[in-house]
């Protein structure tokens, strides 16, 4: 159990800067998830923490101890690889024993640790099988077992669920969360799937292009995305974004895009916006609902739109329509079949609007602007 601290971590490959100086404090026993598109540097950062990549610049601390120059085995970290990386020629038991034998632990201790891991992960029936005789989910549990028996200070997961089918993925997600709760070990988890991030994390680190875009709890990031990228990345289906200008109409600050106008709640935005500023508004699909077909918002603005097409998901229907050539998605809670071309009246929830400065991409409400 240990905290992990990254101070100005930079990774340079030849002429390419993959990680551009990130700072991060991961508290002890927490479940931190690095999420972002491919190439954002999340895996590289994880590998630097693991000791598989050299840290070009900066300080990495585990439990207060600087570990930059320590080899992997001495850092107290254990990793679960995306492809499990099991030793194909060894049985499950031998896979689990391997690192312990290298550490020259005595037999009883090895037995104890393996027993514990095997019980937690329900691997008893597989101990004498080879990886090729196991299913994907079973192999993944062995990979986790291999990490657990090392009794590390930090668990590292590198996209462990990407090789599983959807159903298994959901199952394993729950198991991983349960495991971490039980073992109370600091965990750093890398994924490109924002649903995994949202469901697993105690706090999320959103990365892009080698930088940290935002860190925070899942709710924080969902409710208050710090910039356009995070707003569009987190949440499925994605947040609707509409670019326009801030205008003053009758003393009320409003957002305007051609003929579409929405008043912006003064208590939040009056002090931070100026008329004429280029802004982009964001609103989630559940915040623009058809009249009488969803939860009626307190403060709303009416928008009429012709539905281009709809997706019936069983518990809800997604409606795709346009506001001035920008595609907007709306979530209808009472599912019914909507014909293409059907015109509906949508209620736009003014209180749940997000406003971003179009040029910088940042939320106009972010009061801390620090390089992360």
């Amino acid at each position: 159990m240990a905290s992990v601290c990254l101070k100005d971590i930079v990774k340079v490959y030849g002429s390419d800067i993959a990680v551009r100086g990130i700072n991060l404090d991961i508290p002890d026993r927490s479940f931190a998830v690095f999420v972002g598109p491919s190439g954002c540097g999340k895996s590289t950062t994880l590998r630097m923490i693991a000791g598989l990549e050299n840290i070009s610049h900066g300080e990495l601390q585990v439990d207060g101890e600087v570990v930059n120059d320590l080899p992997s085995r001495d850092r107290g970290v254990a990793m679960v690889f995306q492809s499990y990386a099991l030793y194909p020629h060894m049985t499950v038991r031998q896979n689990l024993e391997f690192s312990l034998k290298l550490e020259k632990l005595d037999h009883s201790e090895i037995e104890r640790r393996i027993d514990e891991a095997v019980t937690v992960l329900e691997l008893h029936p597989f101990l004498d099988r080879k990886p090729s005789q196991l299913s994907g989910g079973q192999r993944q549990r062995v990979a986790m077992g291999r990490a657990i028996v090392r009794e590390p200070r930090v668990f590292l997961f590198d996209e462990p669920l990407s090789n599983l089918d959807a159903k298994l993925r959901n199952q394993m997600r729950v198991e991983i969360k349960r495991l971490q709760r039980r073992l109370q070990v600091t965990t750093i988890y890398v994924t490109h799937d924002q649903i995994e991030a949202m469901t697993l994390a105690d706090f999320i680190v959103v990365m892009r292009g080698g930088n940290i875009e935002q860190t925070g709890t899942p709710i924080d990031i969902f409710e208050a995305p710090a910039n356009l990228f995070v707003a569009g990345f987190i949440g499925s289906p994605r947040m609707n974004l509409l670019a326009g200008t801030a205008v003053e109409i009758d003393g009320q600050l409003c957002f305007s895009n051609d003929d579409f106008t929405v008043p912006l709640p003064s208590e939040r935005f009056a002090d931070v916006l100026s008329a004429g500023q280029e802004i982009t508004v964001g609103f989630r699909p559940e915040d623009i609902v058809p009249e009488q077909h969803g939860i009626e918002p307190t403060r709303s603005v009416s928008v009429t739109g012709a539905v281009e097409f709809s997706e019936m998901l069983g518990n809800e229907t997604l409606l795709f329509f346009n506001i001035n050539q920008t595609e907007i998605i709306s979530r209808m809670h009472q599912p019914r079949i909507v014909e293409s071309g059907e015109t509906l009246n949508f209620l736009f929830n003014v209180d749940r609007i997000h406003v971003f400065d179009t040029q910088s991409g940042n939320s106009v409400l972010s009061d801390q602007v620090t390089v992360g």
Partner: protein
């Protein structure tokens, strides 16, 4: 058109079938005749070893032997005069040690070339592989001179040393290519588990290479077993001669004893490699396939 039903002409089909069957029989006969070219010499070999020298010289070479007993006497004569015991022992020694050492050293080198990142890999690979691109004749004189000077001419050590060296390049090629195909994440997992590079080699990568290792070992063993040239030059003395060397010397000096004896010697000399081939046929085939790549 007779016997038609729904427009299908059965008679014609039957005729065609019969014609193709006839063709098959024709082809079979031809194949038998052709393969006779291969079978006859073996037949000749098989019956000759059962004849006494007299029998052989008096009768037609393809005539059947009168009994099976003479083969024992032939074998004993061949064994003692050609010193087959020493020859077989030497070749077995050279084969197992030479091929074994070579393949192990090749695996080490292949590991370095495939699993570790460093500059100018190909240069180093070519350095090792170039050992095999020169014709054998270019090694002979300098090796002879060098062996003589250092005093390892006509020694077991000298021969094992040479065979080990010459059997390295090809397995390096095969094993390097094979190791390149093994996923790297195992290495990383092992490294995180605390394994040193050599431990990763010994316990992780090597155990996953048995296929190509066996195949190349067999190929190199066979090459060593069949070698005549280097044994003649570097280890011609009777005690250290390879089996093929012994056979050739026997044939050169005793060809008047009778072909039946010399042929028996040839059979004795070839028996081990034939047995090995029979038992390990699929590994041999794997070796051929792997060498073609």
């Amino acid at each position: 058109m007779s016997n038609t039903m729904d427009g299908i002409d059965f008679a014609a089909i039957v005729d065609k079938e019969r014609a193709s069957k006839q063709r098959n029989w024709l082809a079979l006969t031809a194949a038998v005749i052709i393969s006779a070219v291969w079978v006859v010499p073996f037949y000749y070999l098989a019956i000759s070893i059962f004849k006494t020298t007299e029998e052989y010289s008096l009768n037609h070479p393809l005539s059947l032997p009168s009994g099976l007993a003479p083969v024992v006497e032939n074998a004993v004569t061949a064994w003692t005069h050609a010193k087959m015991g020493a020859g077989l022992w030497n070749s077995a020694l050279y084969g197992f040690l030479g091929a074994g050492i070579a393949v192990f050293i090749a695996a080490l080198a292949a590991y370095g070339l495939s699993r570790i990142d460093f500059k100018r890999k190909n240069l180093w690979f070519m350095l090792i592989f170039s050992g095999t691109i020169f014709p054998l004749q270019m090694y002979l004189i300098p090796l002879f001179f060098f062996y003589q000077k250092v005093g390892i001419l006509n020694t077991h050590f000298g021969m094992v040393l040479f065979y080990s060296a010459i059997c390295i390049p090809f397995p390096v090629l095969v094993l390097r290519n094979y190791m390149n195909g093994i996923p790297r994440d195992m290495d990383e997992a092992a490294r995180m588990d605390g394994a040193s590079e050599f431990t990763i080699f010994r316990r992780i990568v090597l155990p996953n290479c048995w296929g190509p290792i066996t195949a190349t070992f067999l190929l190199q063993f066979t090459w060593i077993w069949n070698d005549l040239l280097f044994s003649t030059v570097l280890a011609n003395r009777a005690e250290v001669r390879s089996i093929m060397n012994a056979l050739q010397v026997f044939q050169g000096s005793y060809s008047s004893t009778g072909p039946n004896v010399v042929l028996t010697a040839a059979v004795i000399a070839s028996a081990p490699s034939i047995m090995m081939f029979m038992l390990l046929r699929k590994h041999f085939m794997e070796g051929m396939r792997v060498s073609g790549s």
